[in-house]
């Protein structure tokens, strides 16, 4: 029937050639070392620029969205509808006095924010934004991302410890406990997609979704994994309703209480870029990343969808998930510490394990949609 409506029913394998920036550098290295250096420099500058620009943009969007969720207008003064507010704030942060507490552990205090921002940058280079826009494509991409995101919490723990402030330490301990707990759920839902796709490489996971995104090809299992991932990664991002590490009302800022100026902005930036990474990862794993919306076998329909460039697909999906995370943040109240732990260990963890078994069964029996 579908065949009749949409033309020939064939397994489409429209090819997207993935060329990452590191591939280009390696190729150019043999012929033209200067070109290779140019590529490498472009990658560095691109990631750095993307990091700061995206951070400012996300902060602006967050403030605007939050304002309208709360019947407010948000920034309206600097630039058109406050467009330049983030720029002004960035300049202000850079010019602020950098205070190091008297009895702080000086060395750790100085390197803690750097740890945070490095972890974020390492996560960022792996995100496949389009077939030709990816810095590095590791064959263990999924593991790498979950590894470096754990690196970020090390910065938070160090910050809390070295500040020599009880609020900071409490916040950092909460962050550690929260991160270790929710990392399990994140990994469990990452494993579901890894099982489906049969690969840990992010570009291959994207390629594996050209007959349909895993969120609906894996029907219920994919959907459950998606929501578990979303909840658990929101908790990992320390964003409300899981923002216990900085809980303003109890801890006066948590782990970054003692930080100011540039060092504070590192934490701030890392937090927002981590939100982007989590959203991009959710889009890549469950919503097909840069892969256009395909239905296995509908050749004409898929061809029409291919007209929209992959980069736009990626941007749209990521924006949607970022919006979802913001929506949740500005709607729900904060959890208590015991509620937080209960949600993970008594609810998300069992659900994640059952879901993983279901996924394994699904893959063996090939019961998901379009199993060719």
């Amino acid at each position: 029937m579908l065949d009749f409506l949409f033309g020939q029913l064939v397994a489409t394998h429209a090819t997207f050639d993935v060329v990452t920036l590191s591939d280009r550098t390696t190729q150019a290295l043999a012929e033209d070392p200067w070109l290779a250096a140019g590529y490498a420099l472009l990658g560095l500058a691109g990631v750095g620029g993307f990091l700061s620009l995206l951070g400012m943009a996300l902060i602006y969007v967050e403030r605007k969205v939050a304002a309208h969720f709360q019947c407010r207008l948000g920034p309206m003064r600097v630039g058109w509808h406050g467009m330049l507010q983030s720029v002004a704030d960035a300049i202000k942060l850079l010019l602020k006095e950098d205070i190091i507490p008297d009895r702080a552990d000086r060395v750790l205090f100085l390197i803690a924010p750097v740890f945070s921002i490095i972890a974020t940058t390492l996560g960022l280079i792996l995100i496949p934004m389009s077939p030709s826009l990816q810095v590095v494509d590791l064959n263990i991409g999924v593991i790498f991302i979950s590894a470096v995101s754990s690196f970020g919490v090390l910065g938070i723990l160090l910050a809390g410890w070295s500040s020599n402030n009880k609020w900071s330490l409490l916040g950092a301990m909460r962050a550690g406990a929260q991160f270790i707990s929710y990392e399990i759920s994140v990994t469990l839902s990452l494993l579901v997609v890894t099982l489906f796709a049969g690969s840990l490489q992010l570009s291959e996971i994207v390629q594996s979704q050209q007959d349909g995104w895993w969120i609906w090809r894996g029907h219920i299992v994919g959907l459950v994994a998606f929501f578990v991932f979303l909840i658990a990664s929101t908790a990992e991002l320390n964003r409300p309703p899981f923002d216990l590490p900085e809980a303003e009302s109890e801890l006066t800022g948590g782990f970054h209480t003692e930080y100011s100026g540039l060092r504070f902005s590192f934490f701030f930036l890392a937090e927002f870029i981590n939100m982007f990474i989590a959203s991009a990862l959710a889009a890549t794993l469950f919503l097909g990343g840069w892969m256009p919306f395909h239905i296995g076998g509908l050749h004409t329909f898929n061809g029409l969808m291919d007209l929209i460039p992959p980069g736009l697909w990626f941007a749209g999906k990521t924006t949607f998930i970022i919006f979802l995370i913001m929506w949740v943040r500005w709607t729900f109240p904060r959890l208590r510490v015991d509620q937080l732990m209960r949600l993970e260990w008594k609810f998300l963890l069992p659900v994640g394990f059952i879901n993983l078994f279901a996924a394994a069964t699904l893959v063996i029996t090939k019961l998901y949609f379009f199993p060719w």
């Binding site: 019947c71 207008l73 929506w327 709607t331």
Partner: protein, 233 residues
């Protein structure tokens, strides 16, 4: 959920020292209430979360729900709401005559002495009338007691909220812009049989202008730009 069930509560009355006292015994919800199943709890929590999200997205998609005022820009069109208490003001009719006859009710109603009235006797009609209505914004708590106490509807709140000044003395206002007969006195004087026209003119001529800052406070200090010095007779 335990709640008080009015149907199950028992009522009785006893007498304590000759006074009847009603007693209502409301039982708590049954202690053996069945705990809800996991699925029910899950369903209810998800439903309540989605309800919250529905509310917030409603605010996001409807810009008309924004309550923020772009204040300095919309200064001209800014409309304060009905119950807003800006600054105290004397009610005036279309001719500019005030209702206030200086009866002192507001001064007595004011809990902290923020209102001081000075009266005088009119030379033409022989009636007591308002000489100066002093209102101290610096000590006013905006409790509204003066307006409730006024028997002549002579007081009201204005919309003005921009009362910031650089000198504290400028917060003492003279509310009346003339010292003289209120609108009621003028009407009665006109109605009085056999009052010639020139007598009415004479009554109106007793009105003397009063400046906002003509009160005693600028007098005690030194001269200020924009504030005329008080004439001392």
């Amino acid at each position: 959920m335990s709640y008080i069930d009015p149907k199950k509560s028992s009522r009785s009355a006893i007498e304590v020292g000759g006074v009847p006292v009603n007693i209502v015994v409301a039982p708590r919800g049954a202690t053996g209430d069945k705990r809800e199943g996991l699925l029910t709890i899950f369903y209810k929590s998800v439903k309540s979360l989605l309800t919250g999200m529905k509310v917030t997205i409603g605010y996001l998609v409807r810009p008309s729900t924004v309550v923020t005022q772009q204040y300095p820009e919309n200064r001209e069109t800014l409309k304060m709401f009905e119950r807003f208490r800006g600054q105290l003001r004397l009610v005036k009719d279309e001719n500019g005559y005030m209702n206030c006859n200086g009866c002192d009710f507001c001064e007595k109603a004011c809990p902290n002495g923020s209102i001081i009235l000075q009266d005088r006797r009119n030379s033409v009609s022989g009636k007591s009338e308002l000489e100066r209505y002093l209102w101290r914004l610096d000590s006013c708590t905006f409790c509204n007691a003066c307006i409730q106490a006024c028997p002549h509807d002579a007081l009201e709140w204005s919309d003005g909220f921009e009362a910031a000044v650089y000198d504290r003395r400028l917060l003492v206002y003279t509310l009346n812009d003339y010292a003289g007969p209120p609108v009621n006195h003028i009407k009665r004087f006109k109605k009085k049989a056999g009052t010639p026209e020139d007598r009415v003119e004479e009554l109106l001529a007793t009105m003397e202008p009063r400046h906002q800052y003509g009160g005693p406070t600028p007098l005690s200090g030194k001269g200020m730009p924009g504030v005329p010095p008080l004439k001392t007779d």
